[in-house]
């Protein structure tokens, strides 16, 4: 009964979505206020209905109702409660339901916080948002109904893939989707602006915080996924340039570019067409990501059991959405008159340079991700494009980005003097040089460590440069300390957000470089009592024991770890055997001192009393995740900026299509 209620609610939501897509759009076209105002209650109703459907599915999972096919396939009574709930979105059907729920949530946010938006813009944006919603609800109802029944109901379910039974992965999809779908906000507003034929500072002031929120979620989602891969897959790595990783990374790159170009639209009233284009591309790449994950066209560690009909449906959605919006863009973009002119050497110029570079980088990642598909279609053989390609193409493109992003904030708008900006970065340059030489020597002083020197040098350049820029703003050491303090207190939060996010990226770069340069890996057979030395630590395999978990049994090894005879930690990696589904997983043990991770994995017994063990010392890997957290924190700080919360202030009255905004 509960499942049918959910199904029914979802069907109702489809009809509400159709009304929300059509009526406000017509209303905005005719200037009919009453028709436009349909959008807000409709958005709320749609959210409540999808919420009801989602709640119904969650209920089926929590109560282990195995007469529902989806629950029977993906759940089990023995699963801990957390994974019963996360099981809702750990499968295809449920995760698509989460997708539309988040979409509806953003729709409600527009109607709740968009009180001061021009009514026509709001109506059109909500209408576009709802068109996306129609596509995805139809997709769920026609190809992936999570409420399908199973008769007779089995006594117990098939259980959830044990790799997904992990706190990191329980929250990875919701954050990723909050990010992906968050770009729908910028997209809907971009389309609404194209229909209206105008983009202005008020538009950007509205789009910017939502893009920022999406960016924060996406950053967090990617970091969580990477962290999960790092500690559960037992291979010591955190990023493999896997197609599905790329699928989340491409929207991140373009979304980051969008975030920055919307600043230019807001402050300088220019780069409008470019910003609109980025908004369309960012969301299209999110859709493409959904397609790549859901269709299984690419071989990936993430490939789920797939159904070609689904792939075709998402591809159709992608085609209509991207094709339609790009066509609209081609028709309307020429009418978007750019405002402020600027010299190449200016803050706009530097933002534009990085925008172009990041988009190009996203383009190369797209090429590498899709190339195997293209080659297969053209009968060029089966190819996989691996990390060497991406590292060889992507990383060099990022070098000028990092160099520029340090200089950019020190340039003034419109026209600037590069010399004086560089003069103010002297200290950063000295720091970068010192760090580069230092790390080159530390890494052995030959040719290979050039990478280390470059990476650490760039990280130092960016980190020190970002702090210098902040120091400049508060006139640190140039004005009396009290004056600096007062200035620091009055600095907008968005500025702090930028400094934090840029510095966080510097920490990430240092972490990536460190792990690429100094990781030690040792694979060997160890018997209880054997000791191995890894990066100055002595790890003694004390023994193994059998442990029982809620739905698995595990072989747990204990590595007694000392450094110079002083006890450090007991590392306890596990090899788990889940009962339902019957599958083994690896659970690495990690001890971190924030400079590096000591990482231990226990493998198969060799049949002669020993075990294959894998021991790593992963230098600076914790910095990657620390840096990502700093970036996310920077984004959050920026989101609390007062100016971001004001929303869209009044536009010039003569341009309003409808009477000035009155509270609906």
């Amino acid at each position: 009964m509960i499942a049918e209620t959910g199904h029914f609610a979802l069907i109702l939501a489809l009809f509400v979505a159709i009304i929300q897509a059509v009526v406000p759009l017509v209303g905005a076209h005719r200037g009919d206020r009453a028709w436009m105002d349909v959008a807000r209650p409709a958005a709320l109703a749609q959210f409540l209905l999808i919420g009801l459907a989602f709640g119904a599915l969650t209920w089926c999972y929590v109560t282990s109702d195995f007469s529902v096919l989806n629950v029977a396939q993906n759940s089990h009574t023995d699963k801990p409660m957390l994974y019963k709930v996360s099981g809702v979105w750990a499968n295809h059907e449920g995760s698509m339901l989460l997708w539309v729920l988040i979409l509806a949530l953003y729709g409600v946010a527009v109607s709740a916080f968009g009180g001061n938006l021009p009514p026509a813009l709001r109506a059109r944006a909500l209408s576009v948002q709802s068109m996306i919603s129609i596509g995805f609800i139809l997709f769920i109802l026609l190809t992936s109904n999570p409420f399908a029944r199973l008769d007779p109901a089995p006594l117990n379910g098939n259980g959830l893939n044990p790799l997904l039974q992990d706190p990191g992965l329980a929250f990875h999809p919701p954050f990723l989707y909050l990010g992906y779908v968050g770009f729908s906000m910028a997209f809907s507003f971009a389309i609404a602006a194209l229909i209206e034929g105008r983009v202005d500072a008020a538009w950007a002031r509205w789009v910017r915080p939502w893009t920022l929120a999406a960016w924060v979620f996406l950053t967090l989602g990617i970091a969580l996924g990477s962290w999960w891969a790092y500690y559960t897959l037992g291979w010591g790595g955190y990023w493999y340039w896997d197609p599905v990783e790329n699928a989340s990374f491409m929207p991140w790159l373009v979304g980051t570019a969008l975030l920055h170009s919307s600043i230019v639209v807001e402050k300088r009233d220019t780069l409008k067409a470019w910003t609109i284009l980025l908004a369309i591309i960012a969301f299209s790449l999110s859709l493409l990501g959904t397609f790549l994950v859901r269709s299984g066209v690419l071989t990936s560690v993430h490939s789920f059991a797939t159904d070609p009909a689904r792939g075709v449906f998402v591809l159709g959605l992608l085609f209509v959405c991207t094709g339609g919006s790009l066509t609209l863009f081609a028709i309307r973009a020429p009418s978007l008159k750019a405002g402020g002119l600027f010299a190449p050497m200016s803050r706009e110029g530097s933002l534009l340079l990085n925008n172009v570079l990041m988009s190009t980088a996203a383009g190369t990642v797209l090429l590498g991700t899709l190339y195997p598909l293209i080659a297969d279609a053209l009968n060029l053989g089966k190819i996989s494009v691996g990390p060497p390609f991406f590292n060889g193409v992507f990383l060099p493109l990022m070098v000028p980005v990092v160099v520029t992003m340090t200089v950019g904030p020190l340039l003034s708008w419109k026209r600037s003097d590069l010399g004086s900006a560089l003069a103010r970065l002297k200290l950063a340059f000295v720091a970068a040089l010192a760090v580069a030489i230092g790390s080159w020597l530390m890494a052995g002083g030959s040719a290979t460590p050039l990478l280390a020197a470059g990476g650490f040098g760039l990280a130092a350049w960016l980190f020190v440069g970002s702090l210098l820029e902040w120091g400049e703003r508060v006139r640190l050491f140039r004005a009396p300390f009290g004056e600096s303090l007062r200035r620091a207190a009055h600095l907008p939060r968005a500025t702090y957000g930028m400094t934090l996010a840029h510095a966080g990226l510097a920490v990430v770069i240092a972490g990536l470089t460190g792990s690429a340069t100094w990781t030690t890996e040792k694979i060997q057979v160890m018997r209880p009592g054997d000791t191995m030395e890894v990066a100055g630590y002595e790890l003694t395999l004390q023994g193994t024991e059998e442990v029982k978990g809620p739905n698995y049994t595990a072989l747990r090894a204990t590595f007694h770890t000392t450094k110079n005879g002083v006890f450090v930690a007991d590392l306890k990696p596990e090899k788990r055997q889940y009962t339902m589904p019957p599958r083994p997983t690896t659970d690495a043990a990690i001890h971190t001192n924030m400079i590096g991770d000591l990482y231990a994995v226990i493998g198969e017994p060799d049949g002669k009393g020993g075990f294959v063990t894998r021991l790593y010392y992963n230098t600076l890997v914790p910095w990657i995740f620390l840096g990502a957290v700093i970036m996310v924190f920077g984004g959050l700080v920026s989101l609390t900026d007062r100016r971001h919360r004001v929303g869209a202030p009044l536009r010039k009255p003569q341009t309003l299509a409808a009477p000035a905004a009155a509270k609906a």
Binding site: W274, V301, F304, K382, G386, P388, G603, E604
Partner: protein, 147 residues
């Protein structure tokens, strides 16, 4: 700066970025791309030696021999086989009779020196290349098909 100049600057910037990207792609293409072969392909097609490649198929039943951390096994598409050797910890889902994709190089003796054995997240899932390789060799059994 006029609008025209700015547009020119924009276009130049874009072309420069594209040119740089193209140059990088062309240099990285050589070692970044790995071709996929089935054991049958290795017999019929000429595979340049010392080239990184992927081989996919099933792990032949009864072929896995472990010696400490070194594992020898045979990859088969049920028409042809190729012996492989790998040193390290195998992925959790490596089992006899199951699909596998290995990446590495063929040595002079025709033994595949795998540097990587790919794991899949889902035991119901068979790498697409493997299922196609099996279909190609006419050994595909639909009941073994992934859903």
């Amino acid at each position: 700066m006029t609008r025209k100049q700015r547009r020119l600057y924009f276009v130049l910037l874009g072309m420069l970025a594209l040119a740089a990207a193209t140059a990088l792609v062309l240099t990285a293409v050589g070692d970044g791309m790995v071709y996929f072969y089935t054991p049958g392909d290795l017999k019929t097609k000429h595979v340049p030696p010392d080239r990184r490649l992927r081989i996919g198929g099933l792990v032949e039943k009864g072929s896995v021999v472990k010696d400490g951390k070194t594992v020898r096994f045979v990859i088969t598409d049920l028409t042809a086989t190729v012996p492989a050797i790998y040193t390290g910890v195998l992925p959790d889902l490596f089992r006899e009779g199951q699909g596998v994709v290995a990446e590495g190089r063929l040595d002079a003796g025709g033994v595949f020196q795998a540097s990587e054995v790919l794991a899949k997240h889902d035991e119901k899932y068979m790498p697409k290349e493997v299922s196609e390789a099996l279909k190609k060799s006419g050994q595909w059994k639909s009941e073994a098909a992934p859903k």
